[in-house]
Each structure stands twice: as structure tokens, then as C-alpha cells.
């Protein structure tokens, strides 16, 4: 069970949250200009790394706010939590 630090509510049990997948995927500025392959890439394709991953989480049973988390997909260690619109912290290179 993870203890996730909501930027508003502080540390809460994982059961109060919902994971929303990879973070920082920008919606294309001009969707009409995209062909099917490019649109499919935006909608479906994710990096799925083994290691550090920036992802969106929602405190769905708490304050219902979305925020970002940097979590290791190997160890589940969380090294950063930051609000929507904030700059992501420096990428973690070594620790996996």
C-alpha cells in the first residue's frame, strides 16, 4: 500500500487515489492537422518505462484534485509530488 502525499491534504492512503496515467502529454494545438497515426500516437501511445515515471493522480476520495507524481515503476518509490501547472522536477537519472 502506498502512502501518497496529496499537495493539498498531505499523506493519505493509496485507496483514496486514482491514477490517471502518464503526465505532461500535451493536447495537439491543431487536431485537424493531424493524420490518423499522429492522433493515435497522442491518444494511445505511452512511454511505459521501467524506472522513473511522471504520472497524474487524482485524490478522488479526498479533495478531488489532480496533481503530478514522480514514481518509480520498479520500487514504487515516490520522489516528487507537484501541482498541476507546476514545473516537473529534474529527471532522476541513476536510481531505478
Amino acid at each position: 500500500m502506498l502512502l501518497i502525499e496529496c499537495p493539498w491534504c498531505g499523506p493519505r492512503d493509496e485507496v483514496e487515489f486514482r491514477c490517471g496515467g502518464e503526465a505532461h502529454i500535451a493536447r495537439p494545438q491543431d487536431p485537424d492537422a493531424l493524420d490518423d497515426a499522429a492522433w493515435a500516437d497522442y491518444v494511445f501511445m505511452r512511454t511505459n518505462p521501467k524506472g522513473w515515471h511522471r504520472e497524474r493522480w487524482c485524490h478522488s476520495q479526498g479533495c478531488r484534485r489532480w496533481f503530478n507524481v514522480r514514481r518509480s515503476t520498479v520500487s514504487h518509490e515516490i520522489t516528487a509530488v507537484y501541482k498541476m501547472g507546476e514545473e516537473p522536477p529534474e529527471a532522476e537519472g541513476s536510481a531505478q
Binding site: W8, R12, V15, Q61, C63, R64
Partner: protein
Amino acid sequence: MADAKRSPLAFMTSALAEAEVPDAVALRELSPRTQIDLRGEVADPAFAGTVESALRLTLPRTPNRVADAGGLLALWLGPDEWLLVGPEASDLEARLRSALSGQHVAITDVSANRTVLELGGPKAREILNKGCPLDLDPRVFGPGQCAQSILARAQLLLHQRDIEPTYHLYVRGSFAFYAASWLIDAMKEYRFAKRGGRRER
């Protein structure tokens, strides 16, 4: 006394009362109250100031805090969202609407959304934590604090009233029977623990 027409647990009034374990824990449903969900930008003085002068109540900006102005409560639900709780007969919504007219806000009457259970006594914290993942240790969570979480898989808005501790549990009307039944069951063991304790002495 809860109103039979409106209170989801009116039919359980005696079951809730009978669940009491003297000197350990007691449970009851509180009478219906006016509940208004208020959303707005608290950093905007036009919003925060207007609410303050209209209700004589300062909206809490610190997460999970409750402001109490002579019985009118404002529970923090989010950085731009509060639950205002007042007496059943109240012009709260009308007062807010006229004071905030023209502003980018949302004022929603959610009185029928949740009913309020009062769980109090020295064992109340322990009983809640059987089904609620919140850290309720007095060093972390005390009177004047609120939190949204889960009680045995049902949505919960919790407000600690005093150090006894007494809690007010806001639960959805449709989950009220489930939550109350779960609480009655969770309270049961203290009845036996108490009897056992007496026998040994």
C-alpha cells in the same frame, strides 16, 4: 429528532441508540441541516470578502480545516470549495446568491446529499479507524479539522468536534444504512470487552 420524511436513518433511530456502549461510544443521527456547496476563487478579495461580510464567517484556506461562526460551519473541501452547514431552516443559499450575484462562483444546495451521524466517546477513534485509512492520532487530527476519505468503502466527510473525541460523519443518503450498520457492528466488541473487564475486577 430526525424527520421521518427526510432523514435516511429515521427508521434506525432506536437501533443507533441501542448500539451505545456506556463510557465507550455512542451513535446517533443528527437532525437535517442546510448544506451548501460553495465554490469560488478565495484569492479574489471580491469573493472571500463578500462571503465574509455576508455570513460573518472566514472561509478556511488551510486544507481540511473547519471555520465555526456561531454554529454556521464552513468545511474545507478543496482549494476553491467549501461545505457550508447551518440550521435546517436557513436562508443561507438566498443570502449567498444575492451577495455574490454577478461573480464567477457556484452555489449549490446539497442538503439532501449527506446525512450526519454523530459518533462520540473514548473508543470512537478506534472504531472509525477499523474502516477509515485516515491518521486520526490526536497529534495529527484534532477538533476543528475535517477530512474527506472512506469509511468501509463508503464516501466519508469527517469532522472532529471535540477532544473526547466526538466526530460528525457526513455520509451519502444512499450509503447511510450501510455506514450505520457497519458502525453498529464495529461498536459491538466494546460491549463484550467492557463486560469481560468488569468480571475480572
